[in-house]
Amino acid sequence: MGAHDRILLLIAVVGAVLTVALDFRPVMAAVTRADDTILGWISDLRTPALTAAADRVQALGSFWTIRICAWLTLAALIGVRRLRHLAVYLAVFLGCSLLGTAVARSLGRMRPGNVTILAGWSGYAYPSAPVVALGLVLVGAIHTLVPAGRWRSRAAYVAAGLMVALILSRLYLGVDHPTDALAGVILGSVVPAAVFLAAAPEEAFPVAYRRGQRAHLDIGGARGAAITQALNHQLGLSVAALEPFGLAGSAGSTPMRIRLTPTPVRTETQVFAKLYALNHLRSDRWYKLARTVLYGRLEDEKPFSTVRRLAEYEDHMLRLLRDHGLPTPRPYGFVEITPEREYAIVMEYFDGTAELGSTLADETVSSGLAIVRKLWDAGVAHRDIKPSNLLIRDGQVLLIDVAFATVRPTPWRQAVDLANMMLTLSLYSTPRRVFDQARRYFTADEIAEALAASRSITIPSQLRSLLQADGRDLLRQLTRMAPERAPVAIQLWDLRRLYVTVAVLAGLAAAVAATAAYLQTTSLL
């Protein structure tokens, strides 16, 4: 536990002890006497000008200030789709509000009794509700919207300044005791900060506004060190450098290239790795749920239960495809970075390869189509054939990213693989040449079925956008060359889709009801 965590914990414990102790009359009397003394000193400073200023400053803790801050934060979190932070924010806001109310009702503390109260107030004094509320919205905004480091430190100083201003104004106006404000700071700022650090740790859920896929994690700092250590301890790889690689083509993991220091045991100079984390697992679940509701099951798309399973599965698929002679990267296994949370799967880095770009020779086109033939023969579907998952080396197509591959797929899914390969190769050749090469491996009927199965939803988004940019309507040109065949229906209705859809709708309705109840409870409406 770091010094920062220890301090937060200590302050929270002090707050809890103080709260429990105040339930005893002698303690309450002694604390109130001390509070009254301080308030007496402060009230001696009262002047009309200071009173007017304090009255304005205490608007920082008004319902409207709190509501506006809370709503802006919620809107921003929804806007940037930072759902983990949103969930923690909502839970913290509700939990601390309820705790504050429970403590206030339990102690039933009066407002200061030895000075004239100069401002409006509502409810019990301990803990100071406006101080709790302002702390909650400021700490919440800082921990969910402001990137860690310099910017967060600056924001924290500003927030601390605002909190001090509010507290001083309320003490000056005689609305709160000093201990009410102290309890408000602990409940509204210290406890939420501790919860944010524990429930949305920066290393796992970084607050960042960089371009690119949201799924990509920062592989520098502590995580980079942990990956390096894990590769060394578990696979015997001596890491010289770690760098993000091919981020544009990957949405479901964080790909990286790892440069190695060759050892007597390991002679490789670099490997490729993909980092899987909880957020990738959740993305996978939501993606599959949405496809089930929108299209029925496009395939047997059961979500993975853990990150470990995700890594295990891809490692298994790499080995299986190699066994069947497919040109996929050699697997090195996977390493555990954080148990059940983060794993990195390591594989051969295809050296000397080029991405698809220039016009392909017939031999290259043929090797791409041969890959699909081998997949069919092996009873496997790749399910994500697109330009970024194909590489060229010595005129031969190599296949990468087998994470979505499935064994014993439906014929429909295999047909889609063929269509996507033909479309991808056509982008860098001509439909006619691709069709002719395809006929070496597939019957005309098989090709016709593949093209009839092809729809916008079956084409990976990268390939879809390249097809649109190409402008040749490659699917139509290919379809014309194949025997005529009715399009294959994509909408599948079964019992599972029905009950998943009903469950999703019921979940949405429950979420709306819960949101309304939440907003009422936390006074955000």
Binding site: L9, A12, A194, V195, A198, A222, H233
Partner: protein
């Protein structure tokens, strides 16, 4: 090969989360349970009554709830600068709580005087309905303040209910409250 060293920070976070959760649970359990039974301006809860007195600093009397008869509860209690209000609900008058409100003053209008409920207190009653429901407002007017009791009771049990809530809500003189706060809790109450 060695097993990886698990990042120590994660364990620390778990400890921190567990401690915060534990502390929260203790406080919520202790204070939450107490809050349920204590959110009543009971005549014995001097600090709570002190807060009621602070809401209307001019009021010579403060309303408080003495022993509640069986079947009665206090579903709401709201204190703020300028007023205090709470509700008294009987299980024989579901959905129609008696609303008690302390303010700095009130207009009794055409309300009729009735038996006074304390020294220096003028009590009035104004009925808006007798049958099928017994509804209206009772006023306790005293120097610097006024307490209104809005009731809407089913005819029949209304006589017993009126008697019960009038017996339940007592008027505590401010000077007595000030004295008891000082002697029992060591607290001051201005003015």
């Amino acid at each position: 090969m060695n097993r990886p060293t698990r990042p120590a920070q994660r364990n620390a976070r778990c400890v921190l989360a567990a401690c915060v959760l534990l502390a929260t649970t203790i406080i919520v359990t202790a204070s939450g349970c107490a809050a349920v039974r204590a959110s009543t301006p009971a005549c014995r809860s001097l600090a709570r009554l002190g807060l009621v007195a602070q809401s209307v600093p001019s009021a010579a009397y403060v309303p408080c709830v003495n022993d509640l008869p069986p079947g009665w509860s206090v579903p709401s209690f709201d204190v703020r600068r300028g007023s205090t209000q709470f509700a008294l609900l009987s299980d024989r008058s579901q959905g129609h709580a008696v609303k008690v409100r302390l303010t700095g003053g009130c207009q009794t209008g055409r309300a009729e005087p009735t038996t006074s409920r304390g020294p220096g207190v003028q009590t009035f009653i104004r009925l808006s309905s007798i049958d099928p429901r017994y509804a209206g407002t009772l006023y306790d007017v005293f120097p610097g303040g006024c307490i209104t009791y809005r009731f809407d009771l089913r005819r029949g049990p209304h006589i017993a209910l009126m008697q019960e809530f009038e017996d339940s809500v007592m008027l505590m003189p401010r000077h007595q409250l000030q004295s008891e706060l000082h002697t029992e809790l060591g607290l001051q109450l201005q003015p």
